[in-house]
Amino acid sequence: MADKIKVDHLTAWFGPVRAIHDIGMNIQQNNITAIIGPSGCGKSTFVRCLNRMHEVIPNARADGEVLLDGEDIYAPEVDPVQVRRRIGMVFQKPTPFPTMSVEDNVAAGLRLNGINVGRAEKDQVVERCLKQAALWEEVKDRLRAPGGSLSGGQQQRLCVARALAVEPEVLLMDEPCSALDPISTARIEELLIELKADYTIVIVTHNMQQAARTADMTAFFYAGELIEFGETRQIFTNPSRRETEDYITGRFG
């Protein structure tokens, strides 16, 4: 399969502290790539570098190459805002905009980007994205209710729908299930597998079963380094590195 994103010699800092060091990996199109590893190993920093969200934090910077369809998103003439429209992100905690209704949350990316859509078109986008996020049936009767009135799992799927509305090519998910119960988690996982037909997905997770269930490829990070990257089945059944084996068998981390 084609490589959607190519990462080469990517290093990221928070002030003087180096969070990830010299990462190189290719992320394939229409695949789910899982990033696993113990807390503080640089998983989140890595995915945040992929859509230039890392630099939003004061004093944070990144160095190296990230090619999206062959173009370096860190090239000086590239506008980070445009990168983020092509590479969407869902965070650990559900973050619906509290002042907006369910439907306005879904359409927020369009409206806030100054894309004017008519009523009919907006309804269409809202319905399509909520269906894609497997939330439509649950909220179709309360689209005008505040986004914060939904349950935690529904809020997270609302955030997925909101990310899909701007029609990104890649979806980054930073521990999207860590605040959810097992039922909501299962829904999100089903959703990921449905979405990979249209999107390229990168998911950070603490839950190794989740990586094993959903991901095609898995990367193991440890202490800011990429230790091992390969097909999920191989990583979980026959890892080539000792550290990977120790981690997935629960000997540390």
């Binding site: 939003v56 805002v81 429209r85 965070f91 973050t95 509290p98």
Partner: protein, 289 residues
């Protein structure tokens, strides 16, 4: 075993007694705090209510020696001064507050916060002198504009600080969620963060308005006061606080009675503003989430 139970019971009784004493002390402190409020309100109504009539709200002050007249020009003047001050102070204060919150840690943001804190401690009479120096002297006369500048100077640090606090209460995750949608920084700040903090910012603005509505000292040598209707922003204008001050220190019994009525009306205006805040925000004066 029995001894232990007894000791536990005795200890529990001791804790209950201690709780009772502490609770009584805090209730006592609360009563002491609230007493002046009700004494002031009660005394104002007692002394002022009798002098409040239609003429008070519709007539100009009567010439010295004549009984009657009202404070219509001062009531209108107070609203005029507060409105003008708000037009100057709110945009500047809200703007500075947004900057201080969204660019936290930068030198300019620290400077804004420090300057606002210092300005809040400046005595209001000094603010009056400032407005006298920068507006009254150059314009060669007392004016509504000078009064409004003085009031705005008091208002700006209050609005700046509350805006900043309210913006900072908005979770960082919301900013990131918006940026990750490809929304530019300025749009994120205005449409997501400021919008979420709107309730709290509005509360801050209204509380600052209530505060300046009652200021006397900064108006004494800026807006000055006026016994007649004033239609010019460049001319001196009457205001309730100054009118109350002038009437209260006058030797005429009728003016002193009207000063009480003015004080009652002014207090009612300030109280109405603050109750309005509570109604609008549903009793909570903080930003949502």
């Amino acid at each position: 075993m029995a001894n232990e139970t007894l000791a536990l019971r005795r200890h529990y009784r001791y804790r209950k007694a201690k709780n009772l004493v502490m609770m009584s002390l805090t209730i006592f402190a609360t009563v002491i705090t609230l007493t002046p409020l009700f004494l002031v309100l009660g005394y104002l109504i007692f002394k002022g209510a009798a002098s409040i009539n239609l003429a008070f709200f519709t007539r100009l002050p009567a010439p010295v020696g004549e009984v009657g007249g009202g404070m219509a020009n001062a009531i209108v003047g107070t609203f005029e001064l507060v409105l003008l001050a708000g037009l100057m102070g709110v945009p500047i204060g809200v703007g500075a507050g947004i900057y201080a919150a969204e660019h936290r840690g930068t030198r300019l943001a620290d400077a804004i916060r420090f300057a606002a804190d210092v300005m809040m401690g400046v005595p209001s009479i000094v603010v009056g002198i400032f407005a006298y120096a920068v507006v009254v002297r150059p314009m060669a006369g007392f004016s509504a504009i000078a009064g409004a500048v003085a009031l705005a100077t008091i208002m700006i640090p209050l609005v700046t600080r509350t805006t900043e606090e309210m913006m900072l209460l908005v979770p960082h995750e919301l900013r990131e969620a918006s940026l990750a949608l490809g929304v530019p920084q300025w749009r994120t700040t205005l449409s997501v963060v400021a919008r979420t903090a709107m309730g709290g910012i509005a509360t801050g603005v209204i509380l600052a308005t209530a505060r300046i509505a009652g200021e006397t000292a900064p108006l004494l040598f800026t807006a000055f006061g006026n016994h007649y209707w004033s239609t010019s922003l460049k001319g001196p204008v009457a205001s309730l606080p100054v009118q109350i001050y002038t009437y209260a220190i006058s030797p005429f019994a009728d003016w002193q009675r009207q000063a009480w009525a003015g004080a009652l009306v002014l207090t009612a205006i300030v109280l109405a503003l603050e109750l309005g805040v509570r109604a609008v925000t549903g009793g909570q004066t903080r930003a949502p989430r």
